[in-house]
Symmetry: C2
Subunit: 493 residues, 2 copies
């Protein structure tokens, strides 16, 4: 007869298989699925999500969890802690609600793609309204003491609260707006040479070259294209990146480096934890810290392009004979713009702030879904000084709401802060990181991150891990210092 | 409370979702999966197959089936008949055996790919031996009265037996060998211009153009590449073809037309039957009749290339200024060769005969797995007059055994016969099919097949369907007549 621990592991393996199936169906939907497959996909995702949920929250799983608790040690004890948190979160959600959300998400994704293509928010609004209803219901089931948002963000970032998020934005808003203002008074850098009709094959090849160079393992992953780049996976040995090809050459390059950051974090879990709850990133904020670290701190550094600019010019001759300094300034151009995923590093958090405030307002009933476009545009005018010309470049730009991922956006900003905070810790150990980057020694950097972050998987809580790695709680100091230092030089302030 | 019929349908929808997941994982494994994903894929496939099997054979499903039997009418009655056959087949197999086979198949696929690359049968033999053991065990569970093979082939072709297959080969072997012999005495046609270093992008584009022209719906399907072309799907609205690019230009072209034939059959099920047991092809023989019909009878006709040769020359200028007659003879060149999937129409069935006889011999213990290469080569010498130079072009060429699909091959030959037999019936209704083909009116042909075959899904047994469509049981007459007429002209016999 199997021990409770064995029973638990076997049940969790079943859940993992079902979730892997839905992850792959989701990946396929965003990369390769023909339009005709949408209806069946929605049904399949609904059914498999329900099965995963039912298997996970079944009495037998919980009983095995309770019975295994006492005797488990080391990794097993950590696995049990993580599973208990997950199962508590999941048990609060009725199976029917989970299935309904999953089905709606599949349909909403198709509607969102269409609506964005036609810049037709009205066509998407009823579906989004239904999604907010479901998410509101979810929050009530999950429970919260202070703010409905707390229930939602905790799913993505254990222990985070709306109040913390608000405080975080308070601490950075002032300095960032001031810095942006100073930059506006300086002559703008020129990045026109980064726009063109770039060959997709060349972009695919070059971005894979970069991802490989920094350490993403293509024996255990691959890259495809999707309208909205993302990283997913169903095994430590099979992690999928996506990127996209746009007239702005940086879209593909920094899109790939961003997703490769997520991907290397996922690939860095111990193989022994594959298909268990301990594998993968511990929270969305930590995850985002790694995508932003590789995208911004490494990928947008002068040292990085000291190494890769010659190759870039070879792959894209139309870029011309641009020198390193001009190139470096171009890829770090600061300019309030419409699209979050293409925002510069400095204004990025203001995009997130807009979404955070709108989500809170819709959730609490202060704002109707149908009024989102106007509210969105007003906030863009207020924080960024620009008004989207249409909803495609306004409130229809992100995939998240169609998926019901509400409460998710602030983790992007937490990631931005953590990327600099972790980098500061890394520099204390490794010293001259510019020298490592320009010489192509990404292995030293990856190994440090591997040792301190990736190999820990979900073993420690996000707050514990941040303390272990950086010696303190999440803080905006390194982030503000880093940006100040970087942009004072670039814009000669 | 749901009615027994509703309960049954809901259970079957769950099974369908699980099988769709395994189908997609299998598709991904053969098209995009990185090597590092193999181990987890094997585990996931094993678990999900077990779940599908358990859900399908569960008491609750069977009870709902029994209870729904009396009241069901029309399509529902047919669905119940089909489900009963499937469930009877499946219940005979122990869950553990199903899971073990599925896991082994995933591992065996990787081993087979490696072994074929290195032409190293010995490296694959132990895995294959284990697979034959499992299949033998399967046959014993399924049961048979006459020959162990009957239990296996019945899974793919309801009601077919080893004796029938043997009789089929008896009826065609003589005339075919005689025809091949006569052809050997004639001057050989030249197809050298079909070999070259063809651009993969151009092949992809041209083959998709052909598939679209004949009627494969790319809104409800797509084409990718795989080492061994196949067609799969998980919805009437989402059917996936694969093809491959080789120095022989015909590999991609006829590979695509072949898989598009399978694909159009799948796309032709009524949308109302999507995700139910009634959707899809009724048997492998019928399925193959459609792939061969579109590949050989349509795709290798003079009329077809009257229409498409100019476009082919534009896409592949290196082919030169070949005239229609030369091209038509080249693509119908008859020459005993090593690779089944690239065999000409005339010698194809001899390849199948080799596999059928070897499968019987291994299953009954007359032949050891380790001796397969020698036996294989001896039979190729006997039936085709050639000896493979290595196992990659010998007994390692096919994917089937690695998947445990033993008893499957004869359905290819049944498909060859049925393709001509069904075409003869179609011609009785449509008259001058050459005129339809050369004018690009594939819609008339597709509509006829749609009405008579595809729209029937699995509603009737294969034997019933063949009688309905052609007015008789499977017969070699149309097939032998068709080949005789075609090759007498091509080789000026």
């Amino acid at each position: 007869m199997p021990s409770p621990l064995e029973t638990l592991k076997s049940r969790l393996a079943d859940v993992n298989a079902l979730r892997s199936a839905t992850a792959m169906m989701d990946w396929d939907q965003q990369t390769y699925m023909p339009r005709g497959g949408a209806e069946a996909r929605a049904e399949h995702l609904g059914i498999l999500s329900r099965m995963a949920h039912e298997t996970f929250v079944a009495d037998e799983t919980r009983r095995a969890l309770d019975d295994a608790q006492g005797s488990a040690e080391g990794d097993d004890a950590a696995m049990i802690r993580v599973t208990r948190r997950d199962i508590d979160l999941a048990t609060k959600l009725p199976t029917k609600l989970v299935e309904e959300k999953s089905k709606l998400a599949a349909i909403a994704h198709e509607r969102w793609v269409e609506a964005r293509a036609k810049s037709d928010f009205a066509g998407f609004a009823p579906t989004l309204e239904r999604m907010f209803d479901i998410v509101r219901e979810e929050a009530e089931h999950l429970g919260y003491t202070d703010h409905i948002y707390d229930a939602l963000i905790d799913q993505y970032e254990e222990g985070a609260t709306a109040a913390e998020v608000r405080a975080m934005f308070e601490s950075i808003k002032g300095p960032q707006v001031a810095l942006v203002k100073k930059i506006k008074e300086q002559p703008q850098v020129d990045d026109a040479f980064l726009y063109g009709n770039w060959d997709e094959g060349a972009q695919s090849k070059f971005t894979e070259h970069l991802a490989k160079a920094v350490g993403f393992d293509f024996e255990r992953g691959r890259q495809d294209t999707a309208p909205h780049p993302f990283c997913t996976g169903w095994s430590v040995g099979d992690i999928r990146l996506t990127t996209r090809y746009k007239p702005y050459l940086g879209s593909a390059i920094f899109g790939t480096l961003h997703e490769a950051g997520h991907g290397m974090y996922e690939q860095g879990s111990p193989m022994a934890w594959d298909r268990t709850p301990l594998a993968g990133g511990v929270s969305l904020g930590l995850h985002e810290s790694q995508s932003r670290l590789w995208e911004n701190i490494v990928g947008r550094s002068r040292a990085f392009w000291e190494r890769f600019l010659p190759g870039l010019k070879e792959s894209f001759p139309a870029i011309g004979d641009v020198d390193l300094d001009t190139f470096y300034r171009a890829i770090n151009k600061v300019e309030p713009s419409y699209i979050r995923v293409e925002a510069d590093e400095l204004t990025y958090n203001l995009h997130v702030l807009v979404r955070f405030e709108l989500e809170c307002d819709v959730l609490t009933g202060k704002l109707a879904v149908k009024d989102l476009p106007d509210a969105w545009n007003a906030k863009y005018e207020e924080y960024l000084g620009i008004t989207p010309r249409n909803d495609a470049e306004g409130c229809l730009q992100d995939v998240h709401w169609s998926m019901g991922s509400i409460g998710y956006f602030p983790t992007y900003s937490m990631g931005n802060l953590l990327s600099y905070q972790i980098w500061t810790a890394l520099q204390r150990d490794l010293g001259d990181t510019d020298a490592l980057i320009s010489s192509g020694d990404f292995a030293s950097i990856l190994t440090w991150l591997q040792d301190h972050v990736y190999s820990k998987g979900r073993k420690y809580s996000p707050k514990d891990l941040v303390r272990q790695v950086t010696g303190e709680a999440i803080s905006s100091r390194s982030y503000l210092d880093g940006l100040e230092r970087k942009y004072v030089e670039i814009y000669r302030l």
